[in-house]
Symmetry: C2
Subunit: 347 residues, 2 copies
């Protein structure tokens, strides 16, 4: 039996081959009615796309990878959704990988090893260093996400990030502006992390601008940006003697802040009356927290769009392109956990 | 320049070709030291895996898809992590797809259309019906996740689920056992959903067993199992007159319950003093909620293991296999949102 072709499907559905190709590749720009007709024709004829045809024809798989530390971190799940949407617009399919923050795994993904079908990689690194990435980035088009703070003349890949120093400075200044004077930071990590370093830098700058002194007892070390670490760090802070105990906490992620809020709840400490809490990430979980969490919302759609378009340019380019750093916008949203006024969420 | 082969890498690293292949495919059973040596050899020689070699050699890509409604739903992000871990054990790579609950998209994924590289698909359907799936499931090995309640003689794919009727019955019985008599259900959907139907069935059974009468005013319709819908439904329930207003709410997902808890917080209603709340999913977010959320925890590792092994059997089988339904265990965990005793989380 001769193989059923795209043209057979197009004839049966009464549409162009291009339209069938769009439906088969999942490109969303086809109307629902046309899509139904194509899918029906695909079933009636028993058409199966040819696995190798596309790559043989174009030299490309149309597949890119998005590698994030952890999909159970709401920030990354939300970001992945934006990346998939933007990729679909360009006819690209996204393979989502989790590195679990493992530097070796990050390096493996950056080199494309183990991913023999990919046209390119978008990587949000946690622990792999620039020195490790430098020699390998020429093997596969690569875009890095997140706050690495590379010097422009040292970067060896495109880079999309928000200005984390400024964002951390804004949050801390917000807490100081509320009259809080013993502001703690939860997010200094036991292993080197560029995000932690940059956020701590912004924290320092804002303390200085507000005329407050940095107290290392108010910056406990944590391992990871997750709920349990926020809970344990806040419990420790609550054990500090009166006069040292913080009246506000800037957590370097929403999950840390959720954990900190839980510690306050367990201890019967009023938030924000006794201790104000702020995070960074802008997850929906933060909005629904009780009290709702003051946080920095990076523009995830902009980050995704910049990253995918950068990668697509690099994949489509015949020659080498200069590496660039793209800054995406963010905004600070003040909510109940710092402002104290309980009000219904606008839904 | 002759292409660098697996054998060249193996010689350089002083390991077997099989070991190089395992490292390159990301199979985690190689020691860290050996893996480092292989990765170094890969870089030194500039080895790139041959995109088509594996498929040409075995007829398989080693790639399976996991299609879930939404990765920003913690349950699915956590499940995806388990599926990836189990697949890695079998040397399979997982392509994660989001359907956003779109029936057409679910059908597309079930048929393998648009996914021309896959050996098989694990699909957690929300809205596609059995009638739509029945004629297409022979085109690609398929395992379905979640509570569809198919009759065994009608199923046309392997199926992995928990007993949702029993789970919903357990939660409702727990609320009734606390002496609550006006128990509401948030989760009846405006569009048909098998999960909602089964959980409502368990809810009915438990009410009946407890000698309570079902009051349709206590089962408001929602669109989706997410936070905003839980918030809006709970706000409506709180507007009911005294005597009708619920003293407990069983939410058909943790996200709905988080939204319901938020509505109680906004209204200054004590949880669980005035209204007890329970969910289903067992996400970490539920544990960190204030109060911590009573919920049903499906054994996600078991679900993932059953699903991946089922699919691998089907991919590896020369002939047709009978379709099976596999039940995974679950457990009900009572917490502050129903029991009222505030205590530190065990971390």
């Amino acid at each position: 039996m001769a193989a059923v072709t795209l043209k057979d499907v197009a004839d049966r559905a009464g549409v162009s081959i291009k339209t069938v190709s769009n439906v088969v590749r999942g490109v969303p720009k086809v109307s629902a009615a046309t899509r139904d007709r194509v899918i029906r024709a695909v079933h009636e004829l028993g058409y199966r796309p040819n696995p190798s045809a596309r790559r043989l024809r174009t030299g490309r798989s149309g597949l890119i990878a998005l590698a994030v530390p952890n999909l159970t971190t709401p920030y990354f799940a939300e970001l992945a959704q934006h990346v998939r949407a933007e990729a679909a617009r360009l006819g690209l399919t996204v393979l989502i990988e989790e590195t679990m923050g493992d530097a070796k795994e990050e390096l493996r993904l950056a080199t494309g090893v183990g991913a023999d079908l990919l046209d390119g990689v978008i990587l949000s690194p946690l622990h792999v260093s620039l020195d490790e990435l430098a020699p390998v980035t020429h093997e596969i088009p690569l875009v890095l996400l997140g706050e690495r703070g590379y010097e422009r003349d040292r970067i060896t890949a495109d880079h999309v990030m928000i200005d984390n120093i400024a964002a951390a400075r804004d949050v801390t200044a917000h807490l100081a502006g509320l009259g809080r004077t013993r502001i703690a930071a939860i997010g200094v990590t036991t292993t080197p992390s560029a995000s932690a370093r940059q956020r701590l830098e912004g924290f320092h700058q804002a303390l200085h601008q507000a005329g407050l002194t940095y107290d290392p007892r108010l910056a406990p070390a944590i391992r990871r940006f997750d709920r349990p670490d926020g809970l344990l760090a806040m419990r420790d802070l609550l054990r500090l003697p009166a006069g040292v105990r913080p009246d506000a906490v800037f957590c370097f992620s929403d999950l840390l802040a959720i954990g900190a809020q839980r510690a306050l709840y367990e201890a019967g400490v009023d938030c924000p009356g006794e201790v104000a809490v702020a995070g960074i990430d802008g997850s929906q979980e933060a909005l629904y927290s009780t009290p709702s969490l003051t946080t920095v919302i990076p523009d995830k759609a902009a980050i995704a769009s910049l990253a995918v378009r950068c990668l697509a340019d690099r994949i489509g380019s015949a020659g080498p392109l200069p590496f660039e750093v793209h800054l995406a916008p963010y905004r600070l949203v003040a909510r109940e956990s710092t402002e104290g006024v309980r009000r219904p969420l606008p839904v």
